[in-house]
C-alpha cells in the first residue's frame, strides 16, 4: 500500500547561505519503506544536493541517526507507516551541522576517548581464552550492542547544557569495560569518569533510553556505575 508523505527537512547548505531553511518534498512511499528510502528517493529524483549519511541501511552501522518528528532515530530503522503524513527531519541536536542532516560528530567521539575505551589487562595472557562465565558475559551483553550512532548523547538535556559532559554513550562504553571481568583498569577508569563532567551529571532523565535504536537501557548502566563508584569510594568532583 503506497501513500504520499511530505518530508519537511531542515536544510543547511553553507556554500549557499549561512543560515538554515526548511524544504518540503512530497513523495510516494510504500508503507513498509523506511525514512531512509524516502530521503534517497528525494536525493535521486527531486534534489541531488540533499545530504545525509548512510551505509548499512539496517540499523547496525549507526550512520543515519537524525531527528525525526522530534525524536532521535535511525532513518533506516524508522518505517514511514509508523509516522504521520508530515515527516519532519532535522539533524541530531546540539552538534555543529556540516551540511543538511550531517553533523560534526568529533565532539561526540572525543568523549569516548576519555573513558579508556579498550580492554586493559596487563597480566600475561593464558594459552587459551580467558575464562568468563555466562553470567558475567551477560552483565555486558546489553552494553556491547551499542553502535555509537549518537542518538542518546544528543538527546540528553544535560549534554545540551554542558558540552563537557561525558554523556550516555561514553558512560555506556565505560560500563562495558568496568563490568567486563577480564578488564583490570577499574580504578583508573572510575577516576576518569567521576569528575565534574562525569557520571554524577546524569540526572536519570531517560531521554537516552527513549531514543536508543538498539533499545539499550543506558540509564540502568549509568546507575550501576554510580553504585560501583560509591562502593569504591570515588566521590570525584575535583
Amino acid at each position: 500500500m503506497s501513500k504520499f508523505y511530505t518530508f519537511r527537512i531542515k536544510r543547511y547548505l553553507p556554500e549557499e547561505s549561512p543560515s538554515s531553511r526548511w524544504d518540503e518534498f512530497r513523495i510516494k512511499l510504500e508503507s513498509m519503506e523506511r525514512v531512509l528510502d524516502g530521503l534517497i528517493k528525494i536525493k535521486e529524483n527531486l534534489d541531488g544536493t540533499l545530504t545525509f549519511r548512510k551505509s548499512c541501511a539496517h540499523g547496525v552501522c549507526g550512520s543515519c541517526a537524525m531527528k525525526i518528528n522530534g525524536l532521535n532515530r535511525l532513518a533506516c530503522q524508522t518505517l514511514v507507516k509508523d509516522l504521520p503524513e508530515l515527516i519532519e527531519i532535522e539533524p541530531l541536536p546540539s552538534l555543529p551541522v556540516i551540511k543538511d542532516l550531517v553533523v560534526d560528530m568529533t565532539l561526540f567521539f572525543e568523549k569516548n576517548d576519555r573513558v579508556l575505551p579498550y580492554l586493559i589487562n596487563d597480566d600475561p595472557p593464558p594459552e587459551r581464552e580467558r575464562i568468563q562465565s555466562q553470567e558475567d558475559q551477560h552483565k555486558i551483553l546489553e552494553s556491547i550492542t551499542c553502535i555509537m550512532c549518537g542518538s542518546c548523547t544528543t538527546s540528553c538535556p544535560v549534554f545540551w547544557a554542558d558540552k563537557e559532559y561525558l554523556g550516555p554513550s561514553a558512560l555506556l562504553k565505560a560500563y562495558r569495560f568496568l563490568f567486563d571481568t577480564r578488564d583490570k583498569a577499574t580504578d583508573s577508569r572510575l577516576e576518569r569518569i567521576t569528575g565534574e563532567h562525569g557520571v554524577w551529571r546524569c540526572h536519570s532523565i531517560f531521554n537516552c533510553v527513549e531514543v536508543c535504536p538498539k533499545e539499550i537501557d543506558i540509564t540502568k548502566h549509568i546507575l550501576k556505575i554510580k553504585r560501583l563508584a560509591v562502593k569504591k569510594g570515588f566521590k570525584g568532583g575535583d
Binding site: G62, L119, R128
Partner: protein, 577 residues
C-alpha cells in the same frame, strides 16, 4: 589548488576487520594512517552476524585439518590449499588473540568461547555438522570490529575518517602512496608511504538485491585494475541464501545452525533433496541454487518468488539469546515475529570471492607468475588469496580478514626497513584533481541514480546465481551503453562540503568497471563451479578450468591469463553433502 601532504610508513585503506587488524601489527614498527570513507566502526564488517570459524573444539571434538578439508571442498576445489591450511591452522591462535584483545564472545557453560554449527562445516571430513563458528550472539562482526578498533586507539593508530580514496599510486613496480579527498571539506590530501595495505572490502552494491552496505562499492579494486593490475576470480560472487525478501537484509546462517529450516510452498524441507547429509547446512552456493530452483519450478510460497526460513520450532530462549538481532530485523522490516511465523527469504548478493590477487603474505600480485608490486598489500574481502575459491563457507570471511590482515601487516612491518619512501608526482595529483573537478562540474543529461539503477538491475538479472552465454553477452552490450551514458552524467550538487553526490558518481564509475570485469570473467569460464553456475555448462570441468582467472585491462578490452590452483592434500572429487 591546495594540497595537504602527509607521510606515514604504512597507509591502510579501510577500517574494517582486515584494516584494523593490519594496523595493530604495523603500529609496532612505524607510523600508521588508516583511511575510511565512513567513521571506522561503521565499516560493513560490523554487519557480520553468525560467527568466525576456528576449530577450537570447545563444544565438541574438532580439528583444523577437518576445517581445511571443509574449506577446500566448500571452495569447489578452487581454493589454494596452502593458503587454506595456513588460515585454518592460524585460526586458533588468532581467535584466542582476539579474545585477549577484548572481544566479548558468547560463552559455554564452562566459560569458554561458545561455538555453533554453520554451513559446510563438518567433522570427520564431511560426516556430520560440527560446532565451529565462534560467536557473540548474532553480532559477531560488530563485537570483533569494536574490539579491534579499540585496540588501534590504545596503540595510537591515526584514523582519517570520512576520507575517500581517489587514487592508489603505483609507479615503477612499487607503491608510492595514495591520493584522497576529505569528504567534510573537499580538500585534497596526498599520503606518501612505504607501504599501502588495501582493506577496502567488497562490492556487493553492483547488484540490486544485496546484504552489502551502500559503502560497499569496491572502488579500490577498480583503481588497481585501471592501472593494468589484474583482478582474480571475479566471476565468483556469493549469494547468501537467506536475505529478507524484497530488502536483501542478511539473516545469518547461524539461524539454520541453531535449528532453523527452509521450507517451500508445499511445506517441504526441500534441502533434504539437495544435500541429504547436512541438509539446510549445505554451503551457500548450493542452498541459493536450491532455493531458486524451487522458485523456478513453481514451489515458492504461494507460487511466488520466495521461500520460508522457519524458526518457529527453535526454543524462544535461543532466539532471544543467540539470534536477537535477526529477530529484531524480522520484526522491524517484515512485521514478523520469527517465533510465531516463518520469515520470507530469497538469496541476496553477499560476498566477493574474487578480488585483488595476493600471495599468502598479503602482497599484491601483478601477474600469474607470482611477481609482486613492491610495498602494496591487500587483505579481507577485497583480496583474493585465494582461500575461498569458487565459494566461501560461512564464518570463514571474518577469519580471512583477521588472519590475512595480520599476515599482511606483519609482512609489511618486516619489509619496512628495506623500503623506500614513496613519492607521488605532481602530474598524477593534477590529473586526479582535474578528474574530480570535471565530475563535480559535470553538466550532462544523465542522472547518477538512473544509471546506477539500470546497472544494478541488469547485473542482478543477467549475472547473479544462474548465468548463460546469451544473457552475459547482452549484459556486456548494456554495460558498454552504461559506460557511454556515464560520460554524460550531470551533478546538481557542486559544493565542496560533504558532497555525497560527487562520491556516488565516483563510486558508480568504478562499479561499472567492476561489473564489466565480473561479466567478462563469467562469460569466459565455461563451466559451473561453486557460486559460478553456467546453465549452458552445468558441470565442473577440472580438466580445463581447475585454474584461477586473472583479468587484465588492455587496449583490446579485458584479457585473461590463468594461474594453476595449488593442490596439496585434497584431490578434487565430486562435491556432495
Amino acid at each position: 589548488m591546495e594540497i595537504n601532504k602527509h607521510y606515514f610508513d604504512t597507509v591502510i585503506i579501510g577500517s574494517g576487520l582486515a584494516g584494523c587488524r593490519a594496523a595493530i601489527e604495523c603500529i609496532n614498527t612505524g607510523s600508521v594512517a588508516v583511511l575510511s570513507k565512513l567513521y571506522p566502526t561503521r565499516s560493513h564488517s560490523t554487519a557480520a552476524q553468525g560467527g568466525i570459524g576456528a576449530a577450537l573444539g570447545n563444544e565438541e571434538p574438532d580439528s583444523p585439518e577437518w576445517h581445511t578439508y571443509d574449506t577446500v571442498k566448500g571452495s569447489d576445489f578452487l581454493g589454494d590449499q596452502d593458503a587454506i591450511e595456513i588460515m585454518c591452522y592460524d585460526a586458533i591462535p588468532t581467535i584466542i588473540e582476539l579474545e585477549h584483545m577484548g572481544v566479548p564472545f558468547s560463552r559455554t557453560p564452562e566459560g569458554k568461547i561458545a561455538q555453533r554449527r554453520f554451513g559446510g562445516h563438518t567433522r570427520d571430513f564431511g560426516a556430520a555438522p560440527v560446532r565451529r563458528a565462534c560467536y557473540s550472539a548474532d553480532r559477531t562482526g560488530h563485537a570483533v570490529l569494536f574490539a579491534l578498533y579499540e585496540q588501534c586507539q590504545l596503540r595510537g593508530v591515526r584514523f582519517f575518517q570520512e576520507f575517500q580514496v581517489l587514487d592508489i599510486v603505483v609507479e615503477n613496480n612499487s607503491v608510492q602512496g595514495i591520493i584522497a579527498v576529505n569528504i567534510k571539506d573537499g580538500s585534497l590530501h596526498v599520503f606518501e608511504s612505504k607501504a599501502v595495505i588495501i582493506a577496502s572490502g567488497g562490492y556487493g552494491k553492483i547488484f540490486k538485491v544485496t546484504s552489502n552496505a551502500y559503502a560497499s562499492t569496491g572502488e579500490c579494486l577498480s583503481m588497481l585494475f585501471r592501472q593494468g593490475l589484474p583482478l582474480e576470480d571475479m566471476e565468483f560472487f556469493q549469494f547468501h541464501p537467506t536475505g529478507l525478501y524484497g530488502l536483501g537484509i542478511l539473516i545469518t546462517e547461524g539461524a539454520r545452525g541453531e535449528g532453523g529450516i527452509l521450507i517451500n510452498g508445499k511445506g517441504e524441507r526441500f534441502m533434504e533433496r539437495y544435500a541429504p547429509t547436512i541438509k539446510d547446512l549445505a554451503p551457500r552456493d548450493m542452498v541459493s541454487r536450491a532455493i531458486l530452483t524451487e522458485i523456478r519450478e513453481g514451489r515458492g510460497i504461494n507460487g511466488k518468488d520466495y521461500v520460508y526460513l522457519d524458526l518457529r520450532h527453535v526454543d524462544k530462549k535461543i532466539l532471544e539469546e543467540r539470534l536477537p538481532e535477526i529477530t529484531t530485523f524480522s520484526k522491524i522490516y517484515m512485521g514478523i515475529d520469527p517465533s510465531e511465523a516463518p520469515i520470507p527469504v530469497v538469496p541476496t548478493a553477499h560476498y566477493a570471492m574474487g578480488g585483488i590477487p595476493t600471495d599468502i603474505d598479503g602482497r599484491v600480485l601483478k601477474d600469474v607468475d607470482g611477481s609482486v608490486i613492491y610495498g602494496l598489500f591487500a587483505a579481507g574481502e577485497c583480496a583474493c588469496v585465494s582461500v575461498h575459491g569458487a565459494n566461501r563457507l560461512g564464518c570463514n570471511s571474518l577469519l580471512d580478514t583477521v588472519v590475512f590482515g595480520r599476515r599482511a601487516g606483519k609482512t609489511a612491518t618486516q619489509m619496512l626497513k628495506d623500503m623506500q619512501k614513496g613519492r607521488v608526482k605532481k602530474d598524477r595529483i593534477d590529473k586526479t584533481f582535474e578528474e574530480i573537478e570535471n565530475l563535480r562540474n559535470a553538466k550532462g543529461k544523465e542522472s547518477i541514480a538512473s544509471i546506477r539503477k539500470d546497472l544494478q538491475t541488469t547485473m542482478m538479472d543477467k549475472c547473479s546465481v544462474f548465468r548463460i552465454e546469451k544473457e552475459l553477452k547482452e549484459l556486456l552490450v548494456e554495460l558498454e551503453d552504461l559506460k557511454t551514458r556515464f560520460k554524460e552524467i550531470s551533478l546538481t550538487d557542486r559544493s565542496k562540503t560533504f558532497n555525497t553526490e560527487l562520491l556516488e558518481a565516483i563510486e558508480l564509475s568504478h562499479m561499472i568497471t567492476l561489473s564489466e570485469v565480473v561479466a567478462q570473467s563469467a562469460l569466459v569460464r565455461t563451466e559451473s563451479r561453486g557460486a559460478h553456475c553456467r546453465e549452458d555448462y552445468p558441470n565442473r570441468d577440472d580438466e580445463n578450468w581447475l585454474k584461477h582467472t586473472f583479468a587484465f585491462k588492455s587496449d583490446r578490452g579485458i584479457t585473461f591469463k590463468y594461474k594453476p590452483v595449488k593442490i596439496t592434500r585434497f584431490k578434487p572429487e565430486e562435491r556432495k553433502y
